[in-house]
C-alpha cells in the first residue's frame, strides 16, 4: 500500500471541513434571529456573522490550497505511523461505552506495550493493571468522580 498525501488534498479537505462548519453555523444561527429587536442584539446575530467569516475564509483557503503545488506532505511511512497511533486510540475511545473506561484503558495499555515489546507480557500486564488501579485511586477515591463502567460494568454490577 503506497498512498501519498499531497498538501493540495490536505488543504482542500481542511477547507471543506471548516467551510461545512461555517455553513452549519450560518444556517443554525439564522433560526435564532439576526439583527436588532426590542430585546437588543438578537442571539443569532453574532454567530451568524462569525459563520459568514468562517464560510468565506474557507472558500478563500480552498481556492488558495487548490492553486498550491502538489508537494507531498505525508509519505507512506509517516502515514503508517500515524495510523498505528490513531487507529488504536480511536478503537479505545470506541469501546468505552461497551466495557467501560477501566477495562478499556487496561486493554489499550496492554495492547500498546505488548506490541512494541514483543513477548514482555508480564510487564505489559502489570502496567495495564497499574493504569486501571491508578485511575480508580485518583478519580474514584480521591476526587469522587465516577468514571463510566460501560455495558460490561452494568452486567457485572460493578
Amino acid at each position: 500500500m503506497r498512498i501519498m498525501v499531497s498538501r493540495r488534498s490536505l488543504e482542500t479537505a481542511t477547507a471543506l471541513l471548516t467551510g461545512a462548519f461555517g455553513a452549519a453555523v450560518v444556517v443554525s444561527s439564522y433560526g435564532n434571529g439576526i439583527g436588532w429587536s426590542s430585546a437588543g442584539v438578537d442571539p443569532g446575530t453574532f454567530p451568524f456573522l462569525v459563520g459568514l467569516i468562517i464560510l468565506s475564509g474557507s472558500i478563500f483557503n480552498l481556492a488558495q490550497g487548490w492553486l498550491q503545488a502538489r508537494e507531498v506532505v505525508l509519505r507512506p511511512s509517516e502515514l503508517k505511523r500515524l495510523g498505528m497511533l490513531f487507529i488504536p486510540a480511536a478503537v479505545y475511545v470506541g469501546i468505552i461505552p461497551l466495557i467501560g473506561i477501566y477495562a478499556a484503558s487496561a486493554a489499550y495499555v496492554f495492547g500498546a506495550l505488548a506490541w512494541h515489546r514483543r513477548g514482555a507480557f508480564i510487564f505489559s500486564g502489570l502496567a495495564a493493571i497499574g493504569t486501571a488501579v491508578a485511575l480508580y485511586l485518583i478519580f474514584e477515591l480521591m476526587f469522587q468522580i465516577s468514571l463510566p463502567r460501560g455495558l460490561l460494568g452494568d452486567a457485572l454490577g460493578f
Binding site: R7, L10, E11, A13, T14, L17, T18, F21, G22, A24, V25, S28, S29, N32, G40, V41, P43, G44, F46, P47, V50, G51, I53, I54, G57, S58, F60, N61, Q64, V73, E78, R81, L82, M84, L85, F86, P88, A89, A90, Y92, V93, I96, I101, S105, Y108, V109, A112, L113, H116, A127, T131, L135, I138, F139, F143, Q144, I145, S146, L147, P148
Partner: protein, 502 residues
C-alpha cells in the same frame, strides 16, 4: 505604613506550625490537581471545601489559597512536558515551554516557568498589600462597556501578530467564537448552535477543546517523525536549575511588564487566562527575538507565566474588597467565605483584620512553599520525559480521555475531544494558528455578552465605548495594537525600497 504594620501582625498569625502544615498539604494537593487535566483549581478547592467547615476561617482560607497556588504551578508542568495545559491559564505556556522541553531542556523550561511564576505571584501580593483599600474604587467603575474594551484589548494584543497566513488566522479565530457561542445564550436564554444534539446545550467545554487540539493533535504530529524525544541528560542538573534562576533578571523588563499586565487583568476581572495570552502576545510583538517565539524562547515562557500568576494572585483582591471574584477559583473561595460566616466586601477589612491580613501574609509564605515544593519535584516530572514514546503516547490518550470525560461526566465530550484532535493535527500541519481559536473559545462568549449588554445600555449606539476616559483609553489602546503592526510593516517595506543597495 498602616498597611505594613497590619501585614506584620498578619505574619504572626500565618507563621504557626499548624498553618505551615496546612500550606504544605494545600500546595501538594494543588500541584496534583494542576497536573491532572480536567481537574483544576476550581474542582480541587470545591472538593476541599467541606473539610474546612470546622476550621478557623484563617486556617481554612490558608489551606484553600495554598491549593490554588499549587494548582497554578502544577498547571505549568504538564503544559511544558506534554503540551497538555492542566489549567486554561497555562495554555500560553505551551507555546514556548513545550518546544524547549522537547529540544532536551525540560529542566531549564520548568525552572524558567517557576521562577517567573514566583515573581508574578510576588508582584500580585505586593500589589494587594499596598493597595487593598484603594482598588475598590477602580473596580467599581467597571461596567459592560469596560469589560468589552478589556477583552477587545486582549484579542487585539494577540491577534494579527506572527507569521500565520491572515485568512487562516481569521478562520481559526472565528471557529473559536462559534464554539464559544454553542449552548445557552446567557443574554437571551435561547439555545444556539446545538446542531440538533441536545447534550450540547451545556456548551463546548474549553478543556475538551484544548485537550484535543493540543494533547491529541500534538501527539499525531509527533508520531510522524522517527525520533520523538531527543536524548535528555539522564539526571536533573541542580546547577542548571540555579543557573536558570540566576539568569532570570536578564529578562527584567519582560518580567516587570508581564507582572503589570497580570496585576491589571487580575483586578479588572479579565482573569489569568486572558492575562497570559495578552502578555505572550505583547512580548512577542516587542521582542527583538520575535522569530524565536514558538521555538523555545525563554521570554515566551516568562511572559505568560508571570502574568498568569500575577493575575491569579491579584484576583483575590476584588474578591476580598468588593465581593467580585476575578476568577472561577476565587468564586468558589468566596462561597467558602460566606459559609464560614464572613461577608466579603469593604467591611471585611475593618471587621475581620486578622482574617484579611493573615491571608495576605500567608500568600507570601504560601508562594515560597509552593516554589520550593515544585522545584523539589522537578526531577520527578523531568524523569517523565525519559519514558519511551510508545509508553507515553497511550498514557496521554488515556489522560486526555479521562480528563475530557470528567469535565461533565459525558461521553460526548470524549468523542468531541478526539474530533478536536484531528482538527488540531490538520491545523498544525497546514499552519493554521491554534492560539486565536483557543482564546476565542475561552473569552469569546464573555466578550459577546459584554458587547450586547453595552448595546442594550446605549440602545444600539457605539458611542458608549467612548463615553468615559477609562473605556476610551482601552479601546484606543486595542485599536493601536491592531493597526500599528500593519503600519510598521508598511514603513519597513517603503524603507527597504528606498534603502541604498549594498
Amino acid at each position: 505604613m498602616e498597611n505594613l504594620e497590619a501585614l506584620l501582625h498578619g505574619f504572626t498569625i500565618a507563621l504557626s506550625g499548624n498553618h505551615i502544615f496546612l500550606m504544605l498539604i494545600g500546595v501538594l494537593l494543588g500541584i496534583l490537581v494542576g497536573v491532572l487535566p480536567g481537574l483544576g483549581a476550581p474542582n480541587g478547592v470545591s472538593l476541599l471545601l467541606p473539610l474546612t467547615f470546622g476550621m478557623q476561617p484563617v486556617s481554612a482560607i490558608i489551606l484553600l489559597s495554598c491549593m490554588y497556588w499549587g494548582a497554578l504551578f502544577g498547571g505549568s508542568v504538564t503544559s511544558i512536558l506534554f503540551n497538555i495545559p492542566g489549567e486554561p491559564s497555562s495554555v500560553a505556556t505551551t507555546f514556548d515551554g513545550y518546544p524547549m522541553a522537547r529540544d532536551g531542556r525540560p529542566t531549564t523550561a520548568l525552572a524558567t516557568a517557576f521562577g517567573s511564576a514566583a515573581f508574578g505571584a510576588l508582584a500580585g501580593v505586593v500589589l494587594i498589600t499596598l493597595s487593598a483599600s484603594w482598588v475598590a474604587k477602580v473596580a467599581l467603575a467597571f461596567g459592560p462597556p469596560e469589560y468589552f474594551a478589556v477583552y477587545f484589548l486582549a484579542f487585539a494584543s494577540f491577534v494579527g501578530m506572527g507569521g500565520s497566513p491572515p485568512v487562516k488566522t481569521l478562520v481559526s479565530l472565528a471557529i473559536g467564537f462559534a464554539l464559544a457561542a454553542v449552548g445557552i445564550d446567557t443574554v437571551s436564554g435561547s439555545v444556539r448552535l446545538t446542531m440538533g444534539i441536545d447534550e450540547l446545550v451545556k456548551g463546548v467545554s474549553f478543556v475538551v477543546a484544548v485537550m484535543g487540539l493540543f494533547g491529541i493533535g500534538e501527539l499525531l504530529i509527533a508520531v510522524e517523525d522517527e525520533f520523538h524525544v531527543k536524548a535528555i541528560s539522564s539526571r536533573v542538573d541542580w546547577r542548571e536549575v540555579f543557573r536558570t534562576l540566576i539568569h532570570l533578571p536578564r529578562y527584567g523588563w519582560a518580567l516587570l511588564r508581564s507582572a503589570a499586565i497580570g496585576c491589571w487583568m487580575g483586578i479588572t476581572p479579565g482573569g489569568p487566562t486572558a492575562a497570559s495570552f495578552m502578555s505572550y502576545g505583547i512580548a512577542k510583538r516587542f521582542s527583538s527575538r520575535r522569530a524565536n517565539f514558538g521555538k523555545g524562547e525563554p521570554e515566551g515562557i516568562i511572559a505568560p507565566e508571570t502574568a498568569d500568576h500575577a493575575a491569579g494572585t491579584s484576583a483575590l483582591l476584588p474578591m476580598l474588597s468588593l465581593g467580585i471574584p476575578g476568577s472561577a477559583t476565587a468564586a468558589v473561595m468566596m462561597g467558602g467565605l460566606m459559609i464560614w460566616g464572613l461577608n466579603p466586601g469593604p467591611m471585611l477589612f475593618i471587621e475581620q483584620k486578622d482574617f484579611v491580613w493573615g491571608l495576605i501574609a500567608s500568600m507570601y509564605l504560601g508562594n515560597v512553599v509552593a516554589v520550593i515544593l515544585v522545584l523539589l519535584t522537578v526531577p520527578v516530572f523531568a524523569a517523565l520525559m525519559r519514558v519511551p514514546f510508545f509508553i507515553i503516547a497511550p498514557l496521554i490518550v488515556i489522560i486526555c480521555t479521562v480528563g475530557a470525560y470528567s469535565v461533565s461526566n459525558s461521553y460526548l465530550d470524549v468523542v468531541l475531544m478526539m474530533g478536536f484532535g484531528i482538527l488540531g493535527y490538520l491545523f498544525k500541519k497546514l499552519h493554521y494558528p491554534l492560539a486565536p481559536l483557543v482564546l476565542a473559545t475561552v473569552i469569546g462568549d464573555k466578550a459577546e455578552d459584554a458587547f450586547r449588554q453595552s448595546m442594550l445600555m446605549s440602545r444600539g449606539s457605539l458611542s458608549i465605548f467612548f463615553s468615559n476616559t477609562l473605556v476610551t483609553t482601552l479601546v484606543f489602546l486595542g485599536a493601536a495594537l491592531l493597526v500599528l503592526p500593519v503600519i510598521w510593516r508598511a514603513v519597513g517595506k517603503i524603507r527597504a525600497q528606498f534603502a541604498p543597495t549594498r
